[in-house]
């Protein structure tokens, strides 16, 4: 079996990796538990991220609080459909898609599915790759709030949703990372003996 840290392959029964000294386990038995735990935390954090305002804009005569979806709708009302689409994709579609993808992977790892392991592995890679881009909203808020600080005239502050959104993204990334991709293939190895005899 392979060391999860340095990827050196050891024969079964080896308790520790001689190269890096980490504990060798053939399968992370708690992998799915971790996935689900982070997944749930991510979902919990994602709810207020959508309810509370992401961006608080204060001008001399005007104060507005925009949630993620509300902001996207408002932008769309002004005709900037492209921007609205980017916001929606980055802030809603991707996180929700990640939740669904991780949940799908975790469930299929346990129950089995008709989807080929190759496709599922590909899905997992996509989730891992996209995860880092989920923070785009948080970055936008951070940049805006540091740039637009004109004292009383106008200021932009991050709302409570910015924090929870960031937490949610972190949780989903951890969730995705916790997923032991070998579990996808375990099912294959279990099924094959049944088919081949």
């Amino acid at each position: 079996m392979a060391c999860r840290r340095c990827s050196r392959v050891w024969p079964m029964g080896q308790a520790r990796c001689d190269r890096c000294g980490s504990k060798l386990v053939s399968r992370d038995t708690r992998s799915l538990q971790k996935v689900w735990a982070w997944w749930i935390a991510g979902v919990i954090a994602y709810i207020p991220a959508n309810i509370y305002p992401m961006l608080v804009t204060n001008t001399l005569v005007y104060r507005s609080e925009n949630t993620i979806v509300g902001g996207a709708v408002e932008v769309a009302h002004h005709g900037a459909y492209g921007v609205a689409a980017i916001i929606l994709i980055a802030s809603v579609l991707i996180p929700v898609g990640k939740f669904l993808a991780i949940a799908f992977l975790a469930i299929t790892a346990q129950r089995g599915t008709s989807v080929t392991p190759r496709a599922r592995t590909h899905l997992f890679e996509i989730v891992e790759f996209i995860g880092r881009w989920s923070m785009i909203d948080v970055f936008v808020v951070a940049i805006l709030s540091s740039l637009v600080q004109l004292s009383v005239v106008a200021s932009i502050r991050p709302g409570p949703a910015a924090l929870t959104f960031a937490i949610s993204v972190i949780c989903t990334m951890l969730s995705a990372q916790s997923f032991d991709s070998r579990l996808i293939w375990d099912a294959v190895s279990r099924q094959q003996p049944r088919k081949t005899p």
């Binding site: 971790k34 982070w38 104060r63 003996p193």
Partner: protein, 699 residues
Amino acid sequence: MSDPRTPTPENIPVHEGRPSIWERISFIWLIPIVALVVALGAAWNNYNSQGPLIEITFENAAGVKADETELRFRDIRVGLVEEVGFSEDLKQVQVSVRVAKELSPFIDASAVFWIVRPEVSAQGVTGLDTVLSGVYIQGAWDGTPEGFRTAFEGQSNPPLLDSGREGISFTLRSTDSLPTANTPILYKGVQVGQVAGAEINADGSGVTAPAVIYEPFTQLVTSGTRFWDVSGFSFSLGASGARLNFDSFASLISGGVTFETMGSGGDPLTDAAVFELFPSEETARDDFLVEGDGDDSSVTLTMIFEQNLAGLTPGAPVELGGLRVGEVTSLTGIVDADRFGDDDVRLLTTMRINPSRIGLGEEAGDDDLLDFLSRRVADGLRGQLTNASLLTGALKIRLIDVEGAEDATLDLDADPYPVLPTTEADITDVATSAQGVLQRVNDLPIEEVMQSAIGFLDNATALVGSQALQDAPEELRGILSAARGVVEGEELQAIPGQVSVVLRDLEQISGKLNTIVTEIERRNVIDQLIGAIASVEEAAGGLPGIVEQAGAILDDAEEVSIKTLADRTTSLIAAAEALIDQPSTRALPQELNEALEQLNLTLAELREGGLVNNANATLASARDAASAVEEATGLLPGIAEQLRSVANQAGATLSTYGRESQFSRETSAALRQIEAAASAIERLARAIERNPNSLILGR
């Protein structure tokens, strides 16, 4: 695992341990649990801290926005509008406000809400901060929780008593007009209250406005208080002259209401109190005179006047003996053929009379007043319409005693009020009088006057233009040149020279006289003369006794009879004879003769010495000189007289000619010179006459 007995070596068995449940469950589950707890806690906290929702309805909620407009209490945010909608019938705006939880118990029945907007009025600019921040809803409630309520009626105007101001609110009423909202109530220039916006009565008969007096000024207001308007200024022209009234420039601009408590006592101010707002201080005082301190003791009476005259209005005074005792409250016409016997319209006047003003005392009630009036009516008291003001034609009612009036009584049973009998109106018709005056002016013979004036002026013009008057200056000039000739004549010029010659002669004469006099003194002539005269006096000394006696006799003679008079006269004569018979008496002539002889001798001696001749000659020449002086002096007044007559003539001519021209000025100057010369000459003449010695002695 179909066949466990034939394990394939590639098939690495997967160790699926069965550890206890605690070992199987990863600690990682703590994270979602914590997240869940935190989320739930936050949600619960959020829900728990969320205050209740109250609904306020407004007629007009301009500027109120959901999630933006704040609810403020003492200008601090205590809530936020969550929703703005309409009432079910769409007639009002319904504003849902989430209020702070800790304040919700205080939002009870006492709470009032109004929308603060920027407002620019004469009192100043308010709500300026709302220009930028938008409007907000201001709430006010007291500090005692009395049961939370969720539905409120929003006020259209800020309440008079803001939160934190104590005071008593009451109602101001006027039939005329009330000041604008937020007008201050001033007392001696200090704001002690405020008037809110006025509203028209339901029946349109007047306007009322809620007003408030702040603590601790509420004690200044009693039922004896009268309010009046000091907004702007008033100009009145009356019998006492013109008056321009305004309280202060501040109230001139912003308006104001002031008051004065005109009577002591009276009930303190209460919430239900209603006060009349009078247009001026005078009317307020008049009302107090009639109404008193509000104990409503006035008695209502009616009068029916035969004439229906214009000019009497509600509020017109009712006077008794020149004192205002009441006022007219209403006027109507009345037609009652049964009662009066014809169909004429009569004037039914209702009035209030205050018993305390008549002098029946503070405690006097209706019955006292009616008793009094009944007695007076029996004596001839009647109501009479008369002029209140000649200028405006307003009328008033006067209660007067009419001599020989027809019998009448105060009809106490009349409906609805007792009826006081009336008499004929005493009205001076200003229009008629003015017409009479104009008629007289019209009758004046103005044209004749003008005609004669024109004739006079024509004559005057002719006179002035006449040749005689035109020649007058020429003649005058001739007179003046004649006068100048006289003054400059040689005779007149020579007078001073002659006079000085005469004076020189006189001086010489007086020197000679002095030597004569000293000579006489030297020779004791005078002493001798004095001695002789003294002896004569001595001799005459006895004479007074006789004279007195004679006087006594004459006195007696007036009293006594002629016979006794004769006797007395006889005795007097006898006494006189006896006196004359005395040797001394006889010697008197002798002595006198001797004295005279001595004088003669002296004079003879003098004559012999040539002195007398000298003296005679001197005196003769002196006499000549004096007569010459006299002659000269006699001439002087003549000259003066001549000059004066010239001057007078000239003056007379000049005065007819006029005073303005250069010519006349010069002429009068010349005349004055002539007059001065004349008077100088006259003075000289008079001085010489009065005191020739001064000429002689040079003094």
